[in-house]
Symmetry: C2
Subunit: 358 residues, 2 copies
DNA sequence: TTCAGAAATGAAAGCGTTGTCAATATTTAT
DNA sequence: ATAAATATTGACAACGCTTTCATTTCTGAA
């Protein structure tokens, strides 16, 4: 247990107390301003504290106080540009309330989602053992269209022990508080935009049909199409990925047929960018010959050429609300109500009227 | 301190011990396999542990053992696509050794760097109070060309109390262990590549001259230019940002003059993308009329149209080495030697021979 | 049966804080 | 000067765990 050599022996309240000729209680009082201390002794203690650069041991404090000021965040992949905005919102709000984050990225290097799920479980345990004040879960298993019985059980069980909040995802049972974006409405918005521009042949590509977010987006797309009495085609609804690479693959598959849609609604921005690349390579101009709308409004969406029309899920707001709700759950220990946040269409350059028929 | 209502009263070793009719010592022994326990009692205790889903309190354990298994990471902005790869490397290596991360993002919402620096200090304190086993600092103040006396002092002071490792940055004094990419060599590589393609008129744009990374990159650029006896011009060396927006601004400024470079080496990929956008708007084709090389090899570099030639700083490796070194410092308590990792040129589509003169 | 040695267990100290409660020092009022 | 306040302070238990050291229980050999 001893690490030998170079480390300075940490100074404790006892050291300070001894040297200042007071009791540890008094030292504690000046540190925390928790009770009046005579001016002269306060100064004496303070001096020693700065002299020794004394830093109270948060473990001991938390052990006694039963609060750590830490919030654990479990997310599937920090690399996904979708998350930083969410985290920024969470952070902003949580920091102002004195919390600090414990980030747990469950991404598996080999992309194996089974491995990812076990890491979610592991982190859930670790966070509880570390006595975090609350836990936020984003994506991963809770994002499955059909979460397994065990997943639900595990999360519900955890939520009984520690304030736990779900962001986005699909774990609606068990009375767990959620803060989530209305993906269905977002998809409707996107599709409606295309329709209003005059498009009638609209494809949907991207995502995974076993994930709830994809299902919601497809539902929204279908709803908008139906409302306008527009036909949809099986071959024009494709899933199989959220990446740029999958986007180019989708587009290339679309290109194999003689008939092509005049607009594509992509499951997310990355896919849209992939589609844009493939279109570019095939000599198809966006938006003149092909309109594209993405989803998520990742920072890069405004960097592409042309800039991408997309729908913002208001991640920053989602994060803020989540932190607010969680704080409420921690301090009042109530199950808060779930919050749905409404998305917003961001029109940029990748959409236009369809090419006129000849 | 009581949070009332819904929370389950946590079960402790005492509860298990009482119900199993053994002492807490025995319970501890079966949990940690730290001494032989009779098979029958081990089973009895185990049963109760799973029955109550007992989870030992990591605070109490760490308090006694003086180790938390946590590594604190202080970085300036998780949003910067440069970091995820670094973190992935760190994470991969550190997790295998049983550590878990404590991520501290010091970004300030209003972009005020002064605020950022105080947050670095705050986090440094918080991490030490939370008794992390080690700390990794990336970017921020340590990245300044001239770090302030106080910064250096503070970091050196911290490094005396806890194993501390710097990634990249410029805090070379004080005998602090660093793991860093050789930015100078990277810049040389990039410039050399352009020169070998036949370019003679090469500009450097981006970065901030008060930051050490920018200075290194400019140095490497100048070194390569000089070696080949190529002229450089004051107006073709511009700094002022690392963002896409600043990139387009640089390009537009370049466009104001009648003479233009045939190639631009950008301080990072984001700037390169901004330049590319501005070039596209001005009707200048990349790479036919203008070659572009970026720096960092962020994931997006291969998503742009055309794909960006850039230099990889081997972030993943840097992260892995850092975790290795830090682990060594934690367990052996030695100051490890600093490690320099060599960058690599990634040739993609944004560079070509210069347009032939007419 | 008896005893040495091994195996299994328990009691209690400590890790570094905070908070309670009682004791002491200092004022203020009489 | 003295009693009755009030303002400061200290001793100690508690937080939940691990580990040391001593004790008890068991094993097999004499």
């Amino acid at each position: 247990m001893d690490k030998g050599g170079t480390a300075i022996k940490p100074v404790t309240v006892y050291d300070i107390a001894r040297e200042a000729n007071v009791s540890v209680a008094t030292v504690s009082r000046v540190i925390n301003n928790t009770a009046p201390v005579k001016q002269s002794t306060r100064e004496r203690v303070m001096e020693l504290i700065v002299k020794h650069q004394f830093q109270p041991n948060a473990l001991a404090r938390s052990l006694y106080k039963k609060e750590t000021g830490m919030i654990g965040v479990i997310l599937p992949d920090i690399t996904n540009p979708f998350f930083p905005a969410l985290l920024a919102g969470l952070d902003q709000e949580a920091r102002s309330k004195g919390y600090t984050f414990f980030l747990c990225d469950t991404v598996s290097t080999n992309g194996d989602s089974a491995e990812q799920y076990v890491r979610e479980s592991q982190y859930l345990s670790i966070l509880m053992e570390k006595q975090v004040d609350g836990i936020v879960m984003i994506g991963g298993r809770i994002n499955l269209a059909k979460p397994s019985k065990e997943s639900i059980c595990e999360v519900v069980e955890a939520s009984k022990r520690v304030p736990l909040l779900l962001i986005n995802g699909n774990l609606t049972g068990g009375g767990i508080t959620r803060v989530y974006a209305d993906e269905l409405e977002g998809a409707e918005l996107a599709t409606q935009h295309l329709i209003e521009l005059g498009h009638e042949h609209i494809a949907f590509v991207g995502g995974y049909k076993h994930m709830s977010n994809t299902i919601q987006r497809i539902k929204g797309y279908l709803k908008a199409m139906e409302r306008s009495g527009l036909q949809t085609r099986k071959e024009w609804i494709m899933d199989g990925g959220f990446s740029v690479a999958s986007g180019t693959a989708f587009m290339n598959r679309l290109l194999e047929h003689s008939e092509r849609p005049t607009a594509i609604f992509c499951a997310n921005d990355l896919v849209a960018i992939g589609v844009m690349k493939a279109a570019h390579k095939a000599g198809i101009r966006v938006p003149e010959e092909l309109s594209l709308v993405g989803f998520d409004d990742i920072p890069y969406a405004s960097n592409s050429i042309p800039e991408l029309t997309t729908v913002s899920l208001k991640c920053y707001d989602v994060g803020r609300y989540a932190a607010e709700q969680l704080h409420h759950m921690i301090t009042k220990n109530k199950f808060s109500r779930s919050i749905k946040v409404r998305p917003e269409l961001i029109v940029r350059e990748s959409t236009a009227r369809p090419p006129s028929r000849m």
